[in-house]
Symmetry: C2
């Protein structure tokens, strides 16, 4: 892999400029106003794959945003690695909180990234991360050192539930045949504490609408007489947690697999400094379920969070109105054995049942996703660990993450393939937030580490 | 008053067209984007006053929107009536719920107004209502039948708390000397059930801001670990009412004067049909404080309503974010003896005290207003009652309203003057809501009734 690594060192500036070109395209999948930009994003990804040496590159149409496919089959006898990533990004709002425009990438230094970090929506999630695979592949191709077959599947709907990717997978099982799936869409503990994600939470996401009177009312004339949909909504949401921050939906915890004390003790070995954590978020206390530590609350426990709420007058000044309607977006993170569809149903049933007389309630489910746990004793995991040891000089720590990549469970179900999650982002990278960024250290270290995974995986599969 | 009434009958079309001109100006006082329109509105009012025969017409500058003044002093020996109204209007949003544009007035028939109603923001609150006084004055002038001196004070900040009117009144006590204040900015029970408002609720209005982490966070990575400002805000708001819908702020009810059973029995005589009420609002149940009827809840009891709430992602689709901040606008309607400043302070103290560790809370007070009760045995009230008997053929019912006109309490305090509230709107007129309207019957009946008030008041004061 020496020539590969040399090519990477020689191409650092080129790689960065190319990533900037990709980050400049606002591929916001949730908002139809950006549909054309999403297409441009897919075309750009296809170009990069071709330039890197991929064959059979195709922008595969779906009912939604397209999936970009490409492959390089060296030899049918060699193991095949299927690389998954996504070129779509989260909406950038609240736009006013960005210190530089979200789609004009720029490198700035931070305390955590003293050598600089790329600031842009998608820098870490997931353009910056899947692009490492494209560039690592390019380096191995240019150096004539590609030791495995490669397939790329880069989608444009990860941030909106990957609905069409599921269909694509079902219809392309032959084309997607591989030995392992490799994904960089997660994080690691720190730049001096490499880790590999071995679990993901599932997701259930709903939008609720509470309707009171059939029109907005004057709060003087009607205040006190009718159910105010906003007040009612706050009461309904508040009741979803008890005083110990347990979720009160009947049956919510029924399928949760509790970890043994040994497993929890093992988890507790991963470095975590609560004072640093609070300081980084500027909070005076953490807040969560009684009986669990912060890392446990964020990974092995299910949660319920309001992601958005709105209703009534939200403009300048004062308006004395009782709104006709109030809304909220609510998501639940799920842990292994919880079924998103079942949880969504439990939520809907419960939420409708707690609505008081005087209002009507509608619950609209958005996409969901199943939780995942990946084994640490597999050939692929061990190959990944060796690759990290080579580039970081340290054995990576296996860590269960709180995030969700719903498609990982589907890969296993439909393709019968396990996934290795080699994520190089940091929790502090502000993904899904204003000022998302991705360290230059992380970007380059990822590109360097990936070829070693190919190397060790090829060796282990011999 | 015969010539006056003839002039009114002959001028119906002219009066309506003139009101339309006034309604076309979007005099939204809460939103600085409309500042120039508010000035245009003031100029239009001044023009109308001059055309009607007022003298010393002046657009009086204030630190905010101007106050229009005008007067007609016939004889120092005659009683003087000070007419108060406001030319500013509530914001029109949610604009998409209007069936015709809010600033393009149009007459449409409704079930309650079979002869037609004027649809426009401000049609009833308060352009259509204060304009009745300008036209009644014009009619008496043209007919040479004006029996009292008149002063007009039409302001542009009623919907944002009348802060500068208070200063104006303190600085113009001599100019504003009068025997009674006459205001049409309230409603009556029905077109066949005339009523006069004898009480108003006070108002305390605050905006609250809950801050959790210093930036928006990914709800997968941080969900369950930190206080989510939206969840916390819902819990805090929900806790402001107990299961009987009593307000839980310590000391909130301390100064409330409870009505006697006799007074409540008197109130219960006013016609109220709960089935019609529910049907008109399309609700399956009323909702309010245990132990009180709907009319009581809406007039003699204090309330707490959220008028607006917002935070997190509110756009299309799903975003898995924990917002850094959540906001709400909350107003409390107060009843006699409750002090707005004291209530605002009680609220702030309580709201800050219930914030859990992990969030910071800021409470910003908006304008407030004191509650009012007016006597029914005064010369002015009796004169008004006689005027209604003349035009409606029925004795009006004295009614305490749930709304607030904070300035009425100030009139009494600063000018030593009582107010008669001759409101001709209906509760169903959708003031502060989309599709605000004002019945043609009500508009013309008001113009006809006002001169009789002048007549009887002059007679009674002799």
């Amino acid at each position: 892999m020496q020539n590969t690594q040399k090519y990477i060192q020689d191409s650092r500036e080129k790689f960065l400029n190319e990533l900037f070109d990709l980050l400049k395209i606002p591929t916001v999948s949730a908002d139809s106003a950006y549909s054309k930009d999403v297409i441009r994003g897919a075309e750009k990804v296809a170009d990069f794959l071709e330039q890197a040496g991929a064959e059979k590159v195709e922008i595969c149409k779906t009912a939604g945003h397209p999936i970009v496919y490409g492959e390089k089959i060296m030899d049918a006898a060699l193991p095949t690695i299927l690389i998954y990533g996504h070129y779509d990004v989260q909406p950038a709002d609240p736009i006013e909180l960005w210190t530089s425009p979200p789609f004009e990438p720029v490198v700035k230094k931070t305390d955590i990234h003293p050598e600089g970090a790329i600031f842009a929506r998608g820098a870490c999630d997931d353009k910056g991360q899947f692009f490492m695979h494209v560039k690592a592949f390019e380096a191995m191709m240019k150096a004539n050192e590609l030791p495995c077959n490669v397939k790329f599947m880069i989608e444009g709907e990860e941030e909106v539930g990957s609905v069409n990717l599921g269909i694509f997978i079902k219809e392309n099982k032959e084309r997607l045949k591989a030995d392992i799936i490799l994904v960089s869409d997660t994080g690691m503990l720190g730049n001096d504490t490499p880790s590999i994600t071995t679990g993901l939470r599932g997701l259930s996401y709903v939008e609720v609408e509470v309707t009171g009177p059939n029109r907005d009312l004057h709060s003087g004339l009607y205040g006190g007489c009718v159910a105010n949909p906003i007040n009612v909504l706050t009461k309904m949401i508040a009741s979803l947690h008890d005083e110990n921050k347990h979720i009160t939906i009947p049956g919510f915890y029924a399928d949760v697999v509790e970890l043994s004390l040994e497993e929890r003790a093992e988890m507790a070995k991963a470095p975590f400094n609560e004072e640093h954590y609070k300081k980084a978020l500027d909070i005076d206390a953490v807040y969560g379920e009684t009986g669990y530590t912060t890392p446990e609350r964020g990974s092995i426990r299910p949660t319920l969070d309001v992601n958005g709420i709105w209703g009534g007058y939200t403009g300048e000044g004062a308006k004395t109105v009782i709104a006709s309607k109030a809304y909220a977006k609510i998501s639940m993170r799920l842990v292994p054995n919880q079924e998103p569809e079942k949880i969504t149903e439990l939520f809907s049933k419960h939420f409708e049942s707690i609505a008081p007389a005087g209002v009507k309630v509608i619950v609209n489910p958005h996409h969901g996703g199943e939780p995942v746990v990946t084994p640490v004793d597999s050939i692929a995991y061990k190959s990944a660990a060796k690759a990290y040891e080579k580039t970081f000089g340290k054995t990576p720590i296996p860590v269960r993450s709180g995030g969700s990549i719903p498609i990982i469970a589907l890969f296993e179900k439909e393709l019968g393939l396990k996934t290795v999650m080699m994520g190089f982002g940091l929790d502090s990278d502000a993904i899904h937030s204003p000022n998302e960024h991705y360290g230059l250290f992380n970007f380059y270290k990822g590109i360097e580490t990936i070829p070693y995974f190919f190397h060790y995986f090829n060796e282990a599969m011999k």
